[in-house]
Structures are given as structure tokens and as C-alpha cells.
Symmetry: C2
Subunit: 417 residues, 2 copies
Amino acid sequence: MTGASGSTAAVNGDRLWRSLMEMAEIGATPGGGVGRVALTDLDKVGRDRFAAWCRDAGLEVRIDRMGNIIGRRAGVDDTAPPVVTGSHLDSQPLGGKFDGAYGVLAGLEVIRALNDAGVATRAPIEIVNWTDEEGVRFAAGVVASGVFAGRFDLDYGLNLPDREGTTTLGRELARIGYDGDAPCGGYPVEAFFEAHIEQGPVLEQAGAVIGAVLGAQGQRCYAVTVTGEEGHAGTLPMDQRRDAMVGAARMIDRLNQLAFEFDPLPVITTGHLQVRPNSRNTVPGRVVFSIDIRHPDNDVLAEICRRAQDECREAAAAARLEITIAETGGRDSVAFHPDCIEEVRSAAARLGYSCRDVYSGAGHDACNITRMAPTGMIFVPCKDGISHNERETASPSDLAAGCQVLLEAMVARAGLV
Amino acid sequence: MTGASGSTAAVNGDRLWRSLMEMAEIGATPGGGVGRVALTDLDKVGRDRFAAWCRDAGLEVRIDRMGNIIGRRAGVDDTAPPVVTGSHLDSQPLGGKFDGAYGVLAGLEVIRALNDAGVATRAPIEIVNWTDEEGVRFAAGVVASGVFAGRFDLDYGLNLPDREGTTTLGRELARIGYDGDAPCGGYPVEAFFEAHIEQGPVLEQAGAVIGAVLGAQGQRCYAVTVTGEEGHAGTLPMDQRRDAMVGAARMIDRLNQLAFEFDPLPVITTGHLQVRPNSRNTVPGRVVFSIDIRHPDNDVLAEICRRAQDECREAAAAARLEITIAETGGRDSVAFHPDCIEEVRSAAARLGYSCRDVYSGAGHDACNITRMAPTGMIFVPCKDGISHNERETASPSDLAAGCQVLLEAMVARAGLV
């Protein structure tokens, strides 16, 4: 049984777009974006609407201990592990309409399309709104999916403090009425798929509609402190200087060049830099700057990080500067499941959408789910690669295409009857 | 007639040191420095003390229209143009005990030593405390010597506003009782010498006691704005970036290397740099930084500035960045008079002090006086080259040596009888 374009059931792109725009009204910002931060009153309104839409679509809705909202469509074999999809309805304070919301509402559209077409699946299908993906308000993000996948204890998740230290995630869940009693995870999952906007420019620039996501890059963050000696810009001779600014500049240049020695290219970024005393006529005595390094292969990432530190230390020694390099954060890379990647590629091919393998530069709930189930992600282009920004946008046809691929991939895993 | 060490008259290093320490009590800061900003009540106390010391030494004291205090020791031919020395008693808000005060009180010690030795000179000798050298409080520094030398109109000098725009230099002169009626300049000067601490490390590191100052460097200042495009540090591929930070880093490195292509070495400094948005995980879209370039030869300085701008523009073009370069300030270089330089060198040689030719990295009142009279400067080492700092210090023996050289040079120009 196939619908239009050779598909099992045709998603309704207009309905998907309308649902996205309706959800975007909740927390709409003057700049055209969305501010619907996790576990605020606005998040509750968004959650309520999603739960209502799930029930309208005939789903059984449950709330788990971490406040994840799960809508379930029964399978013909309802004891089989479910095929799950989802993303997050919470946003950055000045975020966009699509980051997260697309993956949740694409899941809902899959259900609606299956309902419209009267298609039953062997395994059950579940759609999830993960609590607090963004990690804006509380001390860390992607924690609820982490508890679901067994990466974190439930206690850790519920006791996660907010950044002001005035409340916890668990208390805020109770406050908005989303402290559910369903178990968080702990059951087998057949496969997990997450649809998401790319949040980068690769698909758009390649003219591709679908990104088959191979994995998420690992990341390491460093704070580099370069210390020389302050001096008068007019009187301290060049050959006697220990200029922290010149030293830092050479390091930043070398780090940039280092990136191009690896394939696939890592990303290496110095986004933050501070000069002391930062006075026009004083040779800088100290510069502190950040390094952010990401690569999809953990071993290669480790090698790049080693080389990056060596380059900085060599540049410091050559300029008679002191240097300290502190690791300030990071996460390992994640590889999605080959079968799930292939489901995405082959669905795109069957549907005639141009598809490209990509890596995710950012972390997603799907990265946590790799610990418990075969997992894949589907990216669609976003305009100019802009995300975490009120200007974030994506085309209705690309969003519909990604949703159709999601449907195909899920049905392939759930099995038609 | 010669005193100790084959000199005309021996300066008293202890007396010079005591005068410096006594002057340093006026505006003494908790950190061991001096805060005696021009035309404050503390400046008046310092001026009063200096004028009293001049009168005690038998000098005729006059105050000119710019508040400059001039003490005059008559010459045997009292109609001859005077040989003049001086510097400034005003300081930075958190300045040192020696910057300026040394040159004024070394002049006073020259007078005292000549008096002690009973030496008369053919030409008169004058010592000057120039008003407001530092330019901390009012819109510009070295203005009073500039009026004296005909570089500025008297009206310009008196109407110079303070940085808050609440008063003028002329009004503040009147407030502290130093709105004199003697003409400011307008008479021939046989020669002008200024003794000063080096404010840099060259003499100390060379083990030299006396610096024969060849001139003061010219200076050009620029603000460079490098504009690329912001992007996500995790998702924007390296080969698609227009990273303003990497571009600025390359420029700063090249500017530093450029300096070493010239002889004598210029100084090229980036002391100030700001990154936008300065967030760890955002590729910087804009960087603004300063360039300060100084060299003793104006033609070479112009060439270096041309090359510096070319280097920046080339680096910007190679990285697909936009660039604007705005000139934000500067002054031409000054060459001191060959005869005056030679007087300093030969006095140092006769006295057995190691002497080295140096350039001044900073501006001084002496630079203005080059417009009207043969001028020279005598530098003595300051510890670690530190100045404009409460920690500024110099050794009593070096200060005495500089003072003795000053005496010899002045007497050589004034003529013994």
C-alpha cells in the first residue's frame, strides 16, 4: 500500500506548516522568533497544545518522570518495541520557530498521515517531546533524553538546579503539572529517528533537500591564557617585547591552518578573546581566548586537540610567553546506526529527494538515544544556516520532504501489515 | 675652573634626591607613586614649593601667561639669549616620582651647584616648570611649551577645555593663582636641554647611564575594523567561514613581522582589540583593533604605515573579509639639534659615564622647543623601563649623573667667564 509519489502515506505539508505556525504563536517574539524556554508557563501552554493534538490524533498520551510527553499509536503487535520519533518544544530565549518544534510536529504529522491513509504498522509508533533540550534555564541540556537512555540517573535529572540556583527541574515540572508518573525509559525501542533543521549551511549550499546524518561531532573546549609582559607601546623595543597579543594572534592563525590538515574537516573556532589591559598604547601583558574544536571521529578529535595544544605551546615558547591551557568542556562524538542512516538515504532516493550525508555540529536528544536503540536523524535545510536566532527559517516544501522521509523510515522499521 | 671629576661644578646627588623625595610627598599615593595632576590644588602646592626653592637659590622667578614658572640666573652678559632647562611637575593620576619632576629639580640642582662653586656664566640660565605636560585633565598635553615655542596661539592654550568640559586651562590657572603676566616665549633662546627618565628599558639593558637623545619618534595611530560573517562554531564549515578573528590575527602577526624589516626598528603595537559577539561558540563577525606605529624618521614612518595598511588589506582580501582603516591620531617625529646631542655625548665622555644614543618613544616639552631653539635631551635609566606607574623608580647615582651631564652641557652653551 503506497500513497502519492510512491510513498506509504502522503504527509500533508500544509497541515505540518500550519501546526508549526500555530505552535510558534506560543512565545512569539517581536523579532519573528520564539522564546519558549523549558518549564516556563509558555512551555506549559505549548505542551498542553501538543498533548491535545496527540489525543485528537487518537494517541494514548503519557507523561514520564522527567516530564517527557509520549504519544503512542498502537501496533498490530502491541507488545513489540515501538519505533519512536521526537524532538523538543522548548527553545532558546530568542530562538526560531523550527529548532526542535519541527521534529515534534513532523512526528505528529506522520501519525496524522498514517491515520488519513488508514495504515496500520506491526510495531507501535511513539512520538516524544523531550523536556529541556536547550539547557538554557537549567545547568545542562539534553538531560531528559539522557535519563530516558540510562545516561543519567533520574535523581540527577530531577535535581538539576537552574542557573540562578533558586529551583530545580523537578520542582518546575511539578509547578507546571508535568511531573508524570510513567517510567522514564527502561523499555526496548526498535529504532529512534529525529527530524531537525540542519542549523548549518551545508545542505542549502549543496542544493540538497535531505541530510542523512552520520553522527554528531565530538567537541572539546579550551581556555588559553597567554601571559607576557606589559610595556609602553612607544618605548619598549620590538626585540625586547613579550607581547601576549602577538603570541595569541599566531596561535589563532595556526589553529585555523591546522584544521585544514584533516579530512573530513574539523571545525576550530576562537570565538572569545580578552586582552589585558586593552589600552591602545600598552603592549598587552595577557590575552585569554577560547578554542572550540569539533570532529565526528573521537580518535581524530583527540589527535587534533593534541596538535592544537602543541601548536599553542610552541608559539608561546618561540615568543617567550607563558601559557596555560585549561579544558573547559566537551563531549564525545556520536555515530548513528548504519541501518537507520540507510533507511533515510533509501527513503530519500525512493521519493526522489536529493540527499547528502552530513554530520551534526550540535548535540541533539538523538545522541543520547544511540545508547539504547538504533538511531538516525534527518536534516532539512534552514535558510543561510541560521539557527538559535529569531531569523531562523526553513521552506515549507523542505520541511514536508523531511517529514515524508521520516514517515518512510519509521514505517520501514515498524513494518506494514 | 672645574670641580670634582674634572667637572665645572659638582652637583650634589644627595640634595637632588632629597628634593625629589620632598616634592614626591605632594600628592603621594598609597602605592608609592605621585598623583599631582596639572592645575589641581596639589599642583599649586608643588609649584609654590618649586618657586620658593628657586628664590632660595637666588633666582628671579616669573610666571608667564601659560602659567609656566621660570627661574632665571643672570649671566655676565645678561642681554644674551638664555640657556634654558626644564620639564614638568605635573604627573599622571597614578604616576611616579621622577617623570617630569626629575628634569625640573635637576635644573634646580644645576643652579645650586653653580652657586656652591661660585661659577658665573656668560649667558643667563633659566629653569622652567612647564604647565600641564601630561594632558591628563585637559584636552591635550605639552600645550604650554607649545605656546612658548609658537606652535600654538596663547588663546588656544588658555581656552583648552578639560575633558569634562566644565572649565578651561586658563580659568584653572587663575583659580590656583598661576595666571602670570610675563610673555609666554617670544624671546631668543640659546639652547634648551631637558633631563628625563627614559621611560623604557634600553639604557638599563645596555648598562648605560646616559642616553644622548637623538629625537622623538613620530607616531601614527589607526583603528582597523575587520568584518566577516557570524556563524555557529559547530555547524559552519571551515571552508565557508569569513572569520573576522582569524583575519585580525593574521594582520596582527604580519604587522609584528613588518616591524623587523626596518632599521632602526619601529615599534608597532596592537594594544586594543574587541571581538563581536565574543561568544565561545560563535564564529566572530567583527573585530576592531588598534595599530600604533612609531619611528624616528618621518619618511620611513610613512613607508611603514603604507606597508602596514597594505598588509592588512591583503590579509582581508585573502580571507574574504571587509576592512576599514581609520587614522585616529599621530604626530611627526622630532630630531634634536646635532650640537646639543654632541654636548651631551661629550659631557658624558669627559665625566666617564657610559653613554648611548637613544630615541624617545614618548613626546616631551623639548619636542616643542626644537621649533625655536637648538634642543637636546638627556635620559637616565628607570628601573625595568617602567613609567606612568606608581612603581616607577630610578637610582640616585644615575639621577646625579644625568644632572651632572646637564650642568656640563648647559655651561658649555652658556660659556664660562
